[in-house]
Structures are given as C-alpha cells and as structure tokens.
Amino acid sequence: MGHYYDSKDLERFGEIGKHRKELADKFFDWYGSVMEKGALTRREKSLIALGVAHAVQCPYCIDAYATGCLEAGASNDEITEAIHVAAAIRAGASLVHGIQADNAINKVMM
C-alpha cells in the first residue's frame, strides 16, 4: 500500500458490505433517508454534510459534498461559510477546554 487515501476508493464504498452485508444495508438505507429532502432542504443538508466532513477531516466526504453542494444549488459563498462554521466550532471546542485547564491549574496551585 503506497498511500492511505485513494480518490477511487470513494466509488468502492459499497464494498464495505462484503462481510455482514445486512449491517451495511442498514447504514445505506438510513443514510439515504437522512439525506432526503425533509424539514431541511437538500442544499441545507449538503452544506451541513460538507461542514461535518471538514470537522472530521474526511477527504472522501469533502470530495463528495463539495460537488454535492453545487448539485444542490449552493453558491461558493455558502460553501465557504459552511466550512468556516465547522472550523469555528472545532476551534471553539478546543478553546473552551481552556476552562478545564484553568480548573485543573486552580486545583493544584496554591
């Protein structure tokens, strides 16, 4: 294995059902239902998906949902804002733990 990520592997996602297919089927059915238009539009769901993809830093999801956002009618500005939201929440999540550090420091310091 020369490298861990290969863009062609995205097309092979379905092969995850090679073993215990019934589990993969449940996932793909649920996934399909989640992404259907509901109280949120496809565009809104695609923007959320792209934000999450950046937060979990999944190159497959970023590839799929960058295009998915365009195919749902999102603009470049909306896509960029979704990425900023993901980045800001990630940054905030790190920073807010500074309070825990402060608590720990206060506990041990005279």
Partner: protein, 321 residues
C-alpha cells in the same frame, strides 16, 4: 471505464411520437463565447441560416403545424432573417414561438430593437442565466456577463415579461456536475433575483451539460471526463425516456439539415432518412421514426433528466454518496 452503449440501456429502440416542436438553429454566430457551449458558437462564426432555408422553415411550419417553434443559435436574433421568420410564423398562427435569448444581445449596439420586437409579437423568451450569483455566471460566460444579463432582464420586465409575457430562465451547471432539483433551485432563483435585483420571471429550466464539443474538451483537459461519464451512466433514469425532447421534436440546422435533437446536430448525426433536409420534409417519416442515439444521450437521461424545457422526471431522487 468503458461507457456501455446507450442502446444497451433501452428495452426497445427510441422512436418519435411526431413533431410537437420545430427547433430551428439560426446559426452559430453569437456575441458571446461561453465555456460550456455545445454549439461552439461565438462572434467569429460565419455559419448562418440563409433566406432560402428560412422559407423552407416557414413552409415546414405550415405543413406540420407544430405547437411550438423554438428559435435558437448562437444568438438567433443576429440572423438577418430573424424578424421575417418570426412575423411569418405569427401570421401562420403557430401557438407558441420561443426565442432562446442570451440576454446580453439586448444591450449590443444595433440590437436595441430586439426586446420591443419580441414583446410586440408576444414571443416567449427563454433566457440563459446559469446561476443567481454573479461570480458563478461570469466564470462561465465571461466577465461582466451577469450584470449585463440583469440589465437585459430589467428591460424585459419593463415590457411585461415575467408577468403578462412568458420569461423563463435556464440554469446549467458551471462545471463537471449535474443540475440541482429544478423546483428547489427555482425558489432560490426567485428569492435572490427578486430581493437583490427586483427581477421577476416565470419558470426555471435546469439543463445538464452535454459531454460534447467545447464542454467535452473542458472535461478532458481538466481530467473530469471519466468521472462525469461515470456519474451520468450510474444515474441513468429510465423514467426520463417517455418525455425526451427528441421524441416529439425535429431539429433544423443552419443549413437546413435535419436532426433528432440539437446535440445530434452538433455531432453531425442527421436523422434516419434518405434525404435529411428541411426541403424534403414531405417525404420524411415524422411519427415512429427511429431516433439516433449515442453516449451523449446519457446527458438527457441522468438523474431528473434534461431537455430544452428543463428536468423531465421531477420525482425525488435519492442523493448519492
């Protein structure tokens, strides 16, 4: 990947229902040269329909009595016989005459007559506006095209288009991806264009970019061709087949030659007839004629489908990972 032959996807060969729409390409001359243009139209093109062929079009409209005559190009208004053709079609009582307008032609020197002429003859305007955000439009159609398109739309709105006269817009993707859901996108267009520019229009048509001509070259150069074709093939939707435009349309090239659709025209695939020319229409089978297909037909049958009048199958489609 080898693209499976389109014919292998069909349970029986596609045939025509008749001629509901007479689509006429008045020439490849255009004031714009857009990156996605399947006609390869532009300001330097010299192929343009002559008066003799225009007379054949008028005779054909009288003979087949189509519901719709769809005038396209290039910029159809740049053909010197455009007005004569439209007036003759109106005199014949053709129920619907459509002008596929790129909007910027309305602002070109020497073409200030176009908007008033269209309104006077109550011509349906189907106008290209590939997105509701300027940056996206200019990237595809050239710098400043979006703001000039908005100016063109304001002129049309001022004449009653979008209210008492039909004004429809056409979306096409700005690259190697498929169009959004037509109804959802129409709502977005209507909200943005009304709030930001005060523009009104009737319907939005979403159209898939066909993997031919200038767009195919782009796909190959950007190494997107295989992926794009994979996407089209994997999203083949048999539910689109009954409504395909080629089943009820005949397409006439600038030189009078006949095709099953505008895309076959650009690929030089004339209809299945001994003399595929508008002058020979009387001897051509209009109903039940086999339609010529090839790989590009996946473009009209992927996902929600695509036609000159937008999506074909508006049932909700599962999103692909």
């Amino acid at each position: 990947m080898t693209v499976p032959a389109f014919s292998s996807k069909l349970q029986k060969p596609l045939t025509t229902y008749g001629v509901n729409c007479l689509q006429v390409n008045l020439g490849k001359l255009c004031n714009q040269a857009c990156k996605h243009c399947h006609v390869d139209a532009g300001p330097k093109r010299t192929e343009i329909m002559d008066r003799e062929t225009v007379q054949h079009i008028i005779a054909a409209a009288e003979m087949v009595r189509p519901e719709l005559v769809d005038l396209t190009g290039g910029a159809p208004e740049m053909n010197p016989h455009f007005r004569e053709l439209v007036e003759a079609l109106r005199d014949l009582g053709v129920p619907r005459i459509m002008d596929r307008c790129n909007l910027t032609i309305l602002l070109e020197p020497g073409f200030d007559w176009v908007a008033n002429f269209l309104a006077k003859h109550r011509i349906e305007v189907t106008a290209s506006l590939p997105f509701y955000v300027g940056e996206h439009v200019d990237r595809q159609r050239g710098k400043g095209v979006f703001s000039r398109s908005i100016e063109g739309l304001r002129i049309l709105n001022g004449l009653g288009y979008g209210d008492s006269l039909p004004l429809n817009l056409v979306y096409n993707p700005q690259g190697a991806y498929l169009p959004p859901d037509q109804d959802d996108l129409e709502q977005l267009y209507k909200r943005h264009l009304a709030e930001e520019y005060g523009i009104r229009f009737n319907e939005l048509y979403t159209i898939t970019n066909m993997p031919i001509a200038r767009f195919k070259t782009y796909l190959e150069r950007s190494e997107n061709y295989t992926r794009y074709m994979n996407k089209l093939v994997s999203r083949f939707n048999p539910g689109t087949l009954d409504g395909l435009m080629c089943r009820s349309l005949i397409s006439v090239g600038y030189d009078g030659r006949l095709y099953d659709c505008d895309f076959n025209q650009m690929l030089d695939m004339t209809i299945d007839a001994e003399q595929p020319h508008i002058s020979q229409l009387r001897d051509i089978m209009l109903t039940g004629r086999p339609i010529r297909t090839d790989d590009h037909c996946y473009g009209c049958t992927a996902g929600h489908g695509s036609s000159c009048g937008g999506a074909l199958d508006t049932e909700d489609e599962a999103i692909a990972v």
